[in-house]
């Protein structure tokens, strides 16, 4: 009888401890992971689901709650309604067109500057800090300065060069100013990433290629570029996604441009519809999803195009690798 009893006791104690441990670890899991989990559901997952529901609902004029399920008719309207085509799709096109011009510039210019920094001329750390500096400030502050600097009447630039260009008044120059703003206040991140990438390129490869008599251009193509490929891919990806979401620069610089329709980006259009009184939430939600799909599609094409051909690699893991690779 005795041995049996001891085993039960031991088993009981063991079981008890296991249960206790499990309860304790469940408790700490709830304590540590719970807050974020709730926030993630409330402020990330739920809005996504809500967006899907909204894009398939109609709204009454004075409520933020979806009124009626209408299927895909909002999407259909966005694609077929002439006003939508004129307003939304033209702004999508402006956004893509601008991105196609600005993204290469936002790669080439910081790369060139980073290569100069990499030569380590005296004071290069100060130069690096100066070039990164404009991007850290609020867009409204730096934009306000640019607005005054390039102002038509008594602007610094017009007076300095003795010209009278209405920089923000015409569609063409207005977009030019947005581009200037994007380069001045936006290349800092790419620039720093390239600086770090160039620093890590294997120096012995340069020496070897120098001994082999490779021209500087060849050296750039076959040593430098492959050496910073992860940084390059990441910067192209983030810049492209970033400029597809272009809003602040246009909003801040171009509120007084007469032809507003011609300087509106897609996000600008969505933002305006949200701020307006029309309460067309169903359409706006649908537009957001459509624009999101376009951005996702562009970045997917870009991911495939710049990835080395390795069959069977999952897209998500490729994405994570980029994020990891400095």
């Amino acid at each position: 009888m005795k041995p049996v009893r001891t085993t039960t006791l031991r088993e009981y104690a063991f079981k008890r401890e296991k249960l206790n441990n499990r309860a304790r670890s469940a408790g700490s899991l709830a304590f540590f992971f719970g807050p974020y989990f709730i926030c993630f559901i409330m402020f990330f997952a739920f809005p996504l689901v809500l967006g899907l529901i909204m894009s398939m609902s109609s709204f009454t004029s004075n409520s933020v709650y979806p009124a009626e399920f209408v299927g895909f008719s909002n999407f259909k309207t966005v694609f077929t309604n002439p006003v939508m085509i004129k307003d939304f799709w033209s702004s999508v096109w402006y956004t893509i067109r601008f991105a196609l011009i600005i993204v290469p510039l936002c790669i080439i210019i910081p790369l060139a500057l980073a290569m100069l920094i990499n030569l380590k001329p005296p004071g290069y750390k100060i130069f690096r800090a100066c070039i990164y500096l404009p991007g850290i400030f609020p867009l409204t502050a730096t934009g306000l300065i640019l607005l005054r600097m390039f102002s038509y009447h008594n602007g610094f630039i017009n007076a300095l060069f003795d010209i009278s260009v209405d920089w923000f008044g015409q569609t063409g120059t207005a977009w030019f100013m947005v581009g200037l703003f994007c380069i001045w206040g936006g290349i800092g991140g790419n620039f720093i990433i390239f600086c770090a990438g160039l620093e890590n390129v294997d120096k012995s490869l340069y020496e070897a290629s120098g001994i082999d008599g490779a021209s500087p251009w060849k050296r750039f193509l076959y040593v430098t570029l492959p050496g910073i490929k992860p940084q390059l891919v990441m910067c192209i990806f983030t810049s492209l996604c970033g400029y597809m979401n272009l809003y602040g620069q246009n909003y801040i610089l171009l509120s007084n441009t007469p032809d507003q329709d011609s300087v509106m980006t897609a996000v600008f259009r969505i933002q305006n519809m949200l701020l307006g009184s029309s309460r067309s939430y169903g359409y706006v939600a649908a537009m957001g999803i459509i624009l999101g799909l376009i951005i996702a599609a562009i970045s997917a094409v870009q991911m495939i195009a710049t990835k080395e051909r390795q069959g069977g690699n999952k897209r998500v893991s490729a994405f994570v690798d980029w994020k990891k690779s400095q």
Binding site: S25, S28, L29, F32, F33, P35, Y36, C39, F40, I41, M42, F43, F44, L48, L50, G51, L113, L116, I117, L119, P121, I126, A129, C130, I131, Y132, P134, I136, P138, T140, A141, T142, L144, I145, R148, M149, S151, F156, L160, W184, G189, I192, I193, M234, T238, G242, N245, Y251, I270, Q271, L274, L275, G288, G292, I295, A296, V316, F319, V320, K323
Partner: protein
């Protein structure tokens, strides 16, 4: 001989120096123009627009700042020139500092759970979180606004803060740092009978604080600079609920008509100072953070 060879050897460095000097000056020019413009009279700014500096001692003035801090009371006849700047500063501080600190706590708790509390499906859940990072933010802008409306946070500062709490990137970044902490340290502490909360605050947090610092810096700057979400949430709220970055837009729009350029420049400088201080103090950390993690703004 010696001289020529020195130049020859360093030619590329000299060229790089000259180009970088020019580029740096061009990049600094608007900032210098703005800062100096904030201490120039309107007559000087408009009369000698080609000058970067105050053209005479008489053209130097602190009036821009004085005026900015005197328009903090609502006057019916000058409703457009009502700039409660102390409220804006305080609101910006609450949103950026408060929001960032709370998110850091939530996110580092979650990161701790992922790394040190091997729970069931933790890898799968983390993979799912990472996968959501490819969803462009614009998809959830509209529903997030409605969500805030439903929660009663529309037109309130909390509506500016809480959406960032669901952010994935901070959790990801902090987790990457926590992974590099030797597991033995945590196991030893656990053997000694330390609770998870104790381990988190006494072992993990001190070792991973640089990750939190980097995430905090960028969170702070992003919140301080935000205009787009602020416009949606607090744009229709009374001016006392605005943030500084958003208020600047109104000052800017207002400045041309009212010839208050000095005041506008002064407000821009006020908005830039806190960020500049952060940059001065943590410059190397910020540059390191961009270089190592790819956060940009």
């Amino acid at each position: 001989m010696f001289r020529r060879s020195w130049i020859g050897k360093n030619l590329s460095k000299i060229i790089a120096f000259v180009i970088l000097l020019c580029v740096s000056l061009i990049f600094l020019l608007p900032l210098v123009y703005g800062v100096l413009g904030s201490v120039r009279t309107y007559t000087d700014l408009s009369g000698r627009p080609e000058s970067l500096f105050p053209t005479s001692p008489a053209a130097f003035t602190w009036d821009g700042y004085k005026e900015l801090f005197s328009k903090t009371k609502f006057v019916e006849s000058h409703a457009n020139e009502y700039f409660p700047i102390w409220n804006w500063l305080l609101n910006s501080l609450v949103v950026s500092l408060g929001g960032t600190l709370v998110y850091l706590l939530i996110a580092s708790f979650a990161a701790y759970a992922f790394v040190f509390l091997d729970f069931k499906y933790s890898d799968k859940i983390f993979g799912l979180l990472i996968a959501t990072m490819v969803i462009p933010g614009i998809v959830s802008t509209t529903p997030q606004l409605i969500n805030m409306n439903m929660l009663g946070l529309y037109k309130s500062l909390l509506g500016l803060i809480v959406p960032s709490f669901g952010g994935v990137y901070g959790v990801y970044l902090i987790r990457q740092f926590f992974i590099s902490i030797p597991k033995d340290l945590v196991e030893n502490a656990r053997m000694d009978g330390a609770s998870n909360i104790g381990i988190f605050f006494k072992v993990v947090l001190p070792l991973g604080k640089s990750a939190l610092f980097v995430q905090g810096l960028f969170g702070f700057m992003a919140a301080w600079n935000d205009v787009q979400w602020a416009q949606l949430i607090i744009g229709a709220a009374p001016r006392t609920t605005w943030t500084l970055a958003y208020g600047l837009k109104v000052i800017s729009d207002n400045s041309e008509a009212t010839e208050s350029m000095t005041l506008a420049f002064a407000s821009a400088v006020i908005a830039m100072i806190p960020i500049f201080i952060v940059y001065l103090v943590a410059q190397s950390k910020i540059i390191e953070g961009v270089a190592n993690t790819g956060i940009k703004r």
